[in-house]
Amino acid sequence: MSHGHYELNARNLLCPLPVIRTQDRIGELQPGDQLIVTCTDPGALNDIPAWCRINGHRVVDVSSHARELSITIMVCD
């Protein structure tokens, strides 16, 4: 079964909204899917990985371009 790659635009949202949007989107995805969250609030750099750790998902990549952050999450069981 192939896994999906999805994107979430959380630009200009302040924490914890990027986390909430991520949480809600991941709730609709399947284990193995990947979600790339793009945001502008640097707080997301702590909050999204923390949310992933406590909810059992895996951050597989973090990158930044100009003032934007991209966090790639692998959805786990």
């Binding site: 924490c15 914890p16 986390v19 909430i20 502008t40 707080g43 923390a50 406590i54 909810n55």
Partner: protein, 351 residues
């Protein structure tokens, strides 16, 4: 095995990010109850966003305390967006406001009621909070705590582990899911028992929010929100309105418009996100802040607005500053203005 699973009771804990809710959850986890956290985002929460905006606050810890607490406890946390539903609590509180625009009693009823809905949907057994009798003047009094249980419809499924011994037994105690003898009898504003319990559990770091958990307890924020309602002629708000009240200097030189002037680079960046929604001004002959104009402004008002914005630019002592005015619907104009002197800006303009 099946029988054991059937007996595993589950509690949902309201996690604010402060010490009390952290301790309450831990006390119940110690009794082999499965605990998950829930945290409500109302739009007014002090948590998270403010420190993300201002550059001067960049060195501060950017963590979200509710997430951090959940991680320390090793529990899941569900953060729920209640921005829209919460409006009625702020706009029409049955039990009124505290010192500022904080409707604490209605707010607690709302949160416990939403936790109850979550509990039922996820097949949990009861709700826990970190409330302590006598700790807060409005929502944590001996006479108001039963109101929260009753009006939220949680009734005896609401357990406050830190002061349970000062309150009638609840369902989890009566059913023997938790041992009442191991619950606590804290009361009043003294924080020593909480600090001792934190030490007992080995929690050396925790957040102690002063005053309250949201901006509605803040006098300056509440006055900006009141100003918004008065000048719009109606008590209503959208998320953008309440977020912008946390950013910049707010000056209202005339009743029909207000300026939100960035105080530094971080706020400039944040306000840039609103450029398509608001008329905005920025000096172009000198380095200076971005300002959003909220309300209606004619040509004379725009001149005044530009001279105020020029006042906060590096050209404040120059004879003239060129300010670009962008109206997302009408286009771009440039105004040459003399910056106002500090003494020309009365205190009464600051909202």
């Amino acid at each position: 095995m099946t029988q054991q699973r059937a007996q595993q009771r589950k509690a949902v804990a309201l996690i604010s990010g402060g010490l009390d809710s952290m301790l309450a959850a831990k006390v119940i986890m110690e009794q082999q109850i499965h605990v998950e956290g829930i945290n409500f985002y109302t739009g007014f929460c002090v948590e998270g966003h403010t420190h993300a905006i201002r550059k001067k606050d960049k060195k501060k810890n950017k963590r979200n305390n509710a997430l951090w607490v959940a991680e320390q406890l090793g529990i899941k946390l569900n953060i729920i967006d209640v921005i829209d539903d919460y409006k009625d609590v702020v706009l029409n509180p049955t039990y009124g406001y505290g010192h500022n625009l904080n409707p604490c009693l209605d707010c607690k009823i709302f949160m416990v009621n939403h936790a109850l809905a979550w509990m039922e949907e996820h097949d949990f057994d009861f709700i826990i909070t970190g409330e302590v009798v006598g700790q807060r003047p409005m929502s944590q009094r001996k006479d108001t705590m039963p109101i929260i249980a009753r009006k939220s419809h949680a009734d005896d499924r609401l357990l406050r582990p830190l002061c349970a011994k000062n309150l009638p037994p609840t369902l989890p105690e009566n059913e023997g899911w938790v041992n009442r003898d191991l619950l606590l009898d804290f009361q009043g504003r003294n924080r020593k028992p909480q600090i001792a319990l934190a030490e007992h559990f080995g929690f050396s770091e925790y957040a102690q929010p002063a005053g309250g958990c949201c901006f509605l307890t803040d006098e300056s924020y509440a006055s900006k929100l009141s100003d918004l309602w008065e000048t719009r002629g109606e008590r209503s708000y959208e998320l953008d309105d309440i977020m912008l009240l946390k950013v910049g200097r707010h000056l209202r030189p005339l009743p029909h418009f207000k300026l939100i002037v960035a105080r530094e680079e971080g706020e400039n960046h944040y306000l840039e996100g609103y450029r398509h929604q608001y008329v905005h001004l920025q000096p172009i002959s000198h380095k200076g802040p971005l300002a959003l104009l909220d309300g209606q402004a004619d040509a004379g008002d725009l001149e005044l607005a530009a001279s105020i914005v020029a006042r906060f630019s590096q050209g404040k002592r120059a004879e003239q500053v060129v300010v670009e005015v962008v109206d997302p619907r009408a286009g771009i104009t440039s105004l040459k203005v003399a910056p106002l002197a500090a003494s020309d800006i009365p205190d009464s303009w600051y909202v």
